[in-house]
C-alpha cells in the first residue's frame, strides 16, 4: 500500500527509536497526549511503547467519537430505533456501545429493532430511496473528519427531497475538547495534569488545517505536532515534540505534510458550515458537559433533523461511578489503575467510555497491551 507501508517500516522504526532515545534527557520524563484514538490505536497495535524510551509517556486522549458519546445519546438512538417504522443506520463501531441499563444497539437489534450497519453516509440515501415506507434515521457521529461526509449526504438528501430520511447528529469538535482537557480545574486529591505537548489529529486536520491548534501553543504553551496515523508518523511526531520540549519551544508543527495543509479542506469546511452550527454545550463521556463542543443542524434544515422530527429529549444517564475514564482522559490515571479494569470492565462488557471502542485508552490497553503489567509483575517476582 503506497503511502502506508513506507510508514510502517520496522527497520526505520528502530533507527527513529534510537534517535528519540538519543535526544531525550535521562533526567526528566516527557508526557505527551495523543488526542486521537487513531494514534492510540497505532501506539498499541504496533507496540510503540516498547520502542519509546521509558521516560516518554503517552497519555491517551479522548479522540474517539464512539467513546465520548454519552450514555444518554446512545439511549436516544436506541429509542429512535425502537420506534415502529424507523430504520436506524449506524456505523458498525456504535453497535456494541452500552447505553444505560445494559442496552446497546446490538441488543436492541436482537430484540427486534430495525438497525442496520452502513459503511458510508451515501448508504443512507440509497436505503431511504429504496424503502420509502421506512423512516430512515442516520446516526451521525464523529469528529471533524466524519462531519463533511454527513454534510454531503445532507446536501443530496435536500436536493432529492427525500421525505423519509433524517439525521441524528452527534458530531463533536476536537480543539474544543483539547481545550477542555487543558483548562479542567484540578480535581482535589488527584495528581495535577501533566501534558507537555500534543500529538495532533491526523485526519481531523486534513479538514480543519493547523490554525485551530495555535491557541494551545501560544496561550497554553503546549507544543502541538499534527501527525499521521502510521506508526512512523507517531514516532516522528514524538521526536519533534521531544525536540520542542528540549528547546523550550511551543509551536504548532505539521508532521503530516503529505495530507494536511495549513488551511485544511476549505470546501469541506464551507459545506459543513452550510448545514451545521454550534450547540451551546454537549455532554462528553469522561469530560462532562463542554460548551460549544458539538454541532447541530441549522434551523433551516429542521426537516432533516431527527431530533426535531422525533422530538428527541436526551435523558442524562451516568456512567459507573467507579469508572476512572475522566482521570484517564485527562492523563491523571492509567487504565490498569481503575478498579474495574479487566475485571468487570472489558471490551465485551465495557463500563466506561475508554473501554468502548478499540481506540479507547482502556480498550487499547486491554486488547493490545495488558501483557505489560504481567511482564513487569513477573520481572518483579
Amino acid at each position: 500500500m503506497k503511502y502506508v507501508d513506507e510508514y510502517r517500516d520496522g527497520d526505520l522504526a528502530a533507527k527513529i527509536a534510537a534517535a528519540i532515545a538519543a535526544e531525550v534527557r535521562p533526567d526528566r520524563t516527557y508526557s505527551f497526549m495523543e488526542f486521537c484514538g487513531g494514534h492510540t490505536h497505532a501506539i498499541s497495535r504496533y507496540g510503540l511503547e516498547d520502542l519509546l524510551p521509558a521516560n516518554v509517556r503517552m497519555i491517551h486522549g479522548p479522540g474517539c467519537p464512539v467513546c465520548v458519546l454519552p450514555v444518554g445519546r446512545i439511549d436516544d438512538a436506541v429509542r429512535l430505533a425502537r420506534r415502529p417504522g424507523v430504520t436506524l443506520l449506524t456505523y458498525g463501531d456504535m453497535m456494541r456501545v452500552p447505553g444505560s441499563k445494559g442496552t446497546s444497539l446490538l441488543k436492541a437489534k436482537a430484540a427486534g429493532a430495525d438497525i442496520r450497519m452502513v459503511y458510508s453516509t451515501l448508504d443512507a440515501l440509497r436505503i431511504a430511496e429504496a424503502e420509502p415506507d421506512r423512516e430512515v434515521v442516520f446516526f451521525a457521529i464523529g469528529f471533524e473528519t466524519t462531519t463533511p461526509p454527513t454534510a454531503v449526504a445532507l446536501k443530496l438528501a435536500a436536493e432529492k427531497r427525500l421525505p423519509n430520511l433524517s439525521f441524528f447528529v452527534n458530531h463533536v469538535l476536537t480543539p474544543v475538547a483539547m481545550r477542555a482537557i487543558l483548562t479542567a480545574p484540578p480535581v482535589p486529591g488527584e495528581r495535577p495534569v501533566a501534558i507537555e505537548g500534543f500529538v495532533g489529529p491526523a485526519h481531523v486536520s486534513t479538514i480543519i488545517g493547523l490554525e485551530p491548534y495555535r491557541e494551545f501553543a501560544e496561550r497554553h504553551r503546549k507544543p502541538v505536532v499534527v501527525a499521521g496515523f502510521e506508526p512512523l508518523d507517531v514516532m516522528q511526531a514524538v521526536l519533534m515534540l521531544v525536540r520542542q520540549v528540549n528547546e523550550q519551544r511551543a509551536e504548532v508543527e505539521n508532521q503530516y505534510i503529505r495530507a494536511v495543509t495549513p488551511a485544511g479542506n476549505v470546501a469541506a469546511q464551507s459545506l459543513v458550515d452550510r448545514f451545521f452550527e454550534l450547540r451551546e454545550s454537549f455532554e462528553w463521556r469522561g469530560l462532562g458537559s463542554v460548551p460549544a463542543s458539538a454541532l447541530k443542524l441549522r434551523d433551516e434544515w429542521a426537516a432533516l433533523d431527527a431530533e426535531k422530527r422525533f422530538s428527541v429529549e436526551t435523558i442524562r444517564a451516568d456512567d459507573n461511578p467507579a469508572c476512572e475514564c475522566g482521570a484517564i482522559l485527562r492523563g491523571q490515571k492509567r487504565p490498569a489503575e481503575c478498579k474495574l479494569f479487566g475485571t468487570v470492565c472489558t471490551p465485551e462488557t465495557p463500563m466506561g467510555a475508554c473501554m468502548v471502542s478499540s481506540e479507547g485508552a482502556c480498550a487499547a490497553h486491554w486488547t493490545y497491551g495488558r501483557f505489560r503489567e504481567h511482564d513487569s509483575l513477573r520481572r518483579a517476582s
Binding site: 502506508v4 520502542l51 442496520r116 450497519m117 472489558t346 465485551e348
Partner: protein, 353 residues
C-alpha cells in the same frame, strides 16, 4: 502506579433470565465460548464433548477410535469467489475431522431451505457439494431436506456432520501445546473472510481474492507421516480467525504463545481490504488453513512436508509456545513492538474509528 496481581478477566454469567442471543454469540469469540460453556456443556454433559476440540474422539465397539464433528453453514452470500455453501460445508467438516489426524470417511447433510429458493441454485450447490466430497475422498451417505416458509430462513442453511477413523497411536488435541513447541501456519490468512465480505452487497468493494476453502485432509496425512509423534495438535482457524484459534489453544493447553507478525503470510489485497474496513487479518476467517503445534525436533520435517503439498506451499513457523499463566497470545509486530493478540469482542464489524 499501583500494579495489582495478574488480571483474570471476570466472566459475567450469562443472563439466563432475560438475556437474548445476539450476533456476538455466533462470532467465534469469548461470547460464544461463554454460551457453549454456560448452556451446552452442562446440558449435554459428557467427556467427549469436554475434550473441547472441534471434533470428538471416541472408541468404537470393535476397537480403534473414530471422531465425529458437525458444523452449521449459514454463509451469506451462498455463492462467493472461490466457492459456495456446498463446497464449504464439505471442506469445513472434512477439516474438523482431519484436524484430529483422523481419515474422514462419511458425511451427512441436512438442508434447511427457504420457500422460494430457486431449484437451479439448489442443484448448483448440491453438485458442488458432491464434487467437493468426491475430491476429498468422502461420501455423503445420508441427508435430509426441510422447507420453511419464506422469511423464516436465509435462502439455505446446510448442517454437515462427519465421521472419520483415527489411526492408532495418534493423539492430537488442543490441550497438548507445551512451552518450547513450535507454532506452524499452513499459509496466508484472511482470504475466506475477505472474499465473503467483498461479495456482500452492503460493503461494495471488489477484489480478485478467492476464498481459500479447501479440504485439508491430504495435507494432514502428509504432516502426520512427516512429523509422527512430534505433532501435538492441529486446528483450522475458521470463525474468529487465527487470533481466536490461538487463544482457544492457549486456554485449552494452559500456555501462552509468542508469535511474529512478520512471519504470518497475508496477501496484499487481503491486507488492503482489511485496512479499508478497519479489520485485523488475524480476526478474519479462513477455510483452507491450519495451525499446527509441533515439538521443536519435528518442526523442520513438518514444514518441509507441508511446503511440498500444494495447500501448504506457504507454510511458515510463526512462533512458539511459552509458559504463561495468563495464557496470552503475544505478538512482536512487524514494526518491532509487542502486543497482545486477543479474541475479537463480539461480531467482526467494519469500523470507521
Amino acid at each position: 502506579m499501583t500494579v495489582r496481581s495478574p488480571i483474570k478477566a471476570y466472566r459475567r454469567k450469562l443472563d439466563l433470565a432475560n438475556g437474548r442471543v445476539d450476533l456476538g454469540h455466533g462470532s467465534g469469540g469469548r461470547a460464544m465460548a461463554d454460551l457453549v460453556s454456560g448452556i451446552f456443556r452442562e446440558a449435554f454433559a459428557n467427556p467427549f464433548l469436554d475434550q473441547g476440540n472441534d471434533q470428538a474422539a471416541f472408541p468404537t465397539p470393535r476397537g480403534g477410535r473414530m471422531v465425529m464433528t458437525t458444523d452449521g453453514y449459514v454463509v451469506s452470500p451462498l455463492f462467493f469467489p472461490g466457492g459456495d455453501i456446498g463446497s464449504l460445508a464439505v471442506h469445513g467438516t472434512v477439516n474438523d475431522i482431519a484436524m484430529s489426524g483422523a481419515r474422514p470417511l462419511h458425511l451427512s447433510a441436512s438442508y434447511i431451505v427457504e420457500e422460494g429458493f430457486p431449484l437451479a441454485d439448489l442443484k448448483r450447490i448440491a453438485d458442488s457439494m458432491g464434487r467437493a466430497a468426491r475430491a476429498a475422498g468422502v461420501t455423503i451417505v445420508t441427508g435430509d431436506t426441510k422447507v420453511v416458509e419464506r422469511g423464516k430462513a436465509d435462502g439455505l442453511f446446510i448442517s454437515t456432520a462427519g465421521i472419520g477413523e483415527l489411526p492408532d497411536g495418534l493423539d492430537l488435541s488442543g490441550d497438548r501445546a507445551e512451552p518450547g513447541d513450535v507454532v506452524v501456519l499452513s499459509g496466508s490468512i484472511g482470504d475466506h473472510g475477505v472474499a465473503i465480505m467483498s461479495s456482500r452487497e452492503n460493503l461494495e468493494f471488489e477484489t480478485a481474492i478467492l476464498s481459500d476453502s479447501a479440504a485439508l485432509n491430504g495435507l494432514v496425512e502428509a504432516m502426520v507421516a512427516a512429523a509422527g509423534p512430534h505433532l501435538k495438535l492441529m486446528r483450522d482457524p475458521t470463525r474468529g480467525g487465527l487470533a481466536a484459534t490461538l487463544n482457544e489453544l492457549a486456554h485449552q493447553s494452559g500456555v501462552g504463545f509468542r508469535i511474529e507478525e512478520a512471519a504470518i503470510p497475508v496477501k496484499p489485497e487481503v491486507a488492503a481490504a482489511c485496512e479499508l474496513l478497519g479489520l485485523d487479518p488475524l480476526n478474519v476467517a479462513n477455510e483452507g488453513k491450519l495451525v499446527a503445534v509441533v515439538s521443536p525436533a519435528g518442526a523442520d520435517a513438518l514444514l518441509a512436508a507441508m511446503r511440498a503439498h500444494p495447500l501448504g506451499a506457504e507454510a511458515a513457523a510463526i512462533g512458539t509456545v511459552v509458559a504463561d499463566d495468563q495464557q496470552f497470545v503475544q505478538m512482536t509486530t512487524g514494526f518491532g513492538g509487542g502486543r497482545i493478540v486477543d479474541w475479537l469482542s463480539g461480531e467482526q464489524l467494519p469500523r470507521i474509528c
